[in-house]
């Protein structure tokens, strides 16, 4: 299977996918760590794909999304953005709205706690 086929399969068969450096338990980059940390804290069930473990996926996801950086978040097959966008959407409540609209389960109280801590 090509890297692009693998990516298509992963984002089709998982509601939330995070392409990141490292794993959700052990991120290897501050930006990946921040996004994984938000998802972990909000109790979102997601698949983490460690791009450091596969050079073809690492380049493939950049080409597929037309986006030059990692991390990259996909929800229901749709590209949401990288660290800056996910952070902004978390703080504005747009991420909650996206999860609500897409039927992705998360802990609303935890999301509110993140916003309270960054107000």
């Amino acid at each position: 299977m090509t890297a692009i086929d693998q990516i298509k399969q992963d984002i089709a068969s998982n509601d939330v996918v995070l392409y990141m450096k490292g794993t959700k338990e052990m991120p290897q980059c501050g930006f990946s760590s921040r996004v994984a940390g938000v998802l972990n804290f909000m109790g979102v069930s997601y698949k983490d794909v460690n791009v450091l473990a596969d050079a073809d996926i690492r380049q493939g996801i950049k080409d597929f999304s037309d986006w030059p950086t990692i991390p990259q978040l996909y929800v229901k097959g749709e590209f949401v953005g990288g660290c800056d966008i996910v952070t902004e959407m978390t703080l504005s409540g747009e991420l909650d709205q996206l999860f609500d609209a897409k039927g992705v389960a998360y802990n609303k109280d935890a999301a509110d706690q993140i916003r309270a801590a960054n107000a």
């Binding site: 501050g30 930006f31 986006w67 030059p68 950086t69 990288g82």
Partner: protein, 84 residues
């Protein structure tokens, strides 16, 4: 030309009301992706009316396109704060 100045020059096309380009490389020294000579981690704060009709993704993509793949490849990390 320092990378900061290259970034500033390429973002001038948006006719920004406000543009800050900050080299944060020193904060990431020793971290994977940091380069001994610095110039690896940057933060851009930009405000331009051109971004008003754009979605978040479109704003970021417009900046990526303005910087170009060659410059992006030389930068390890780029944080963007974009306002209209």
């Amino acid at each position: 030309m320092p990378v900061v100045d290259e970034i500033r020059a390429r973002l001038a096309q948006f006719q920004p009301d406000r543009l800050e380009v900050i080299d944060e490389s020193a904060r990431h020294a020793g971290h994977a992706g940091a380069r001994p000579e610095g110039e690896s981690h940057f933060r851009v704060r930009i405000a331009a009316a051109a971004f008003a009709p754009m979605s978040r993704l479109a704003r970021h993509r417009a900046i990526h396109a303005a910087l170009g793949p060659e410059l992006l490849a030389r930068i390890h990390a780029l944080a963007l704060e974009i306002e209209d």
